[in-house]
Symmetry: C2
Subunit: 137 residues, 2 copies
């Protein structure tokens, strides 16, 4: 293990010395936790194509409830990843889009999605093998 091993950096980013922030409050874990939520990822990818109104987002992610969509948008706005713009028309129109911070996330996020897409047949096959092995135990 050399000091410039990227995984050493990744591990220390996730797990700083307890004296600094404490494991429970590690902000990097906290950020990853949010990104790990599949709805956040889906909404970010959808907004990366163009800003969207609430109703268009609800149609783009058809199996999300309106309550969870509202909640997820609020979390993403709070984290500074998306903006929310209210036009005081009748009825008022609400649009969402990626902030520069949200846009900067798309490159690593897209790579992770591409990995999952490329490797999902291997993962599905591994699950079948595992389940068969357990059934025979």
């Amino acid at each position: 293990m050399t000091p410039d091993d990227p995984n050493t950096d990744a591990a220390s980013a996730l797990d700083p010395a307890p004296s600094s922030t404490g494991n429970r409050n590690c902000p990097v874990r906290d950020v990853l936790d949010r990104l790990g939520d599949k709805w956040s990822t889906l909404i970010l990818v959808t907004l990366s194509q163009s800003p969207q109104r609430f109703n268009a987002l609800a149609r783009a992610v058809p199996d999300i409830s309106r309550r969870i969509l509202t909640q997820t948008l609020r979390h993403l706005e709070r984290d500074g990843l998306i903006w929310r713009e209210v036009t005081p028309s009748t009825p008022p129109s609400v649009r969402y889009g990626l902030t520069p911070l949200g846009t900067s996330l798309m490159s690593p996020l897209t790579e992770l999605i591409a990995w999952a897409d490329r490797h999902q047949p291997r993962i599905v096959a591994a699950r079948i093998r595992f389940d068969e092995r357990k059934a025979n135990d």
Copy 2:
């Protein structure tokens, strides 16, 4: 939006036509869901440094319960991301390590962690601004 826009690919990987697999069963979402779990990420990063025994892993991720650690390791093994090796000593010794599939995940995962590490001060600042704005509404 051009056909070779990487985000178009990312969106279609996440959200295939309902006629193909159905949104609820999209395997890429399913894979991301697992990766999004912060314990999985922490365990994968820890194992990327070297294979580990169960007890060493429990020490490396101090705020995880043994039950959740066992469960997370089982999920990761089922997905083919880690191997589990039992040495029939007295007492039996169990070691875990990354499979080639798990190793291939480290590059996109490390990039995402690096993004979270680099941008977490901006995210924390955005949250404070959001909460202050809401408190003044």
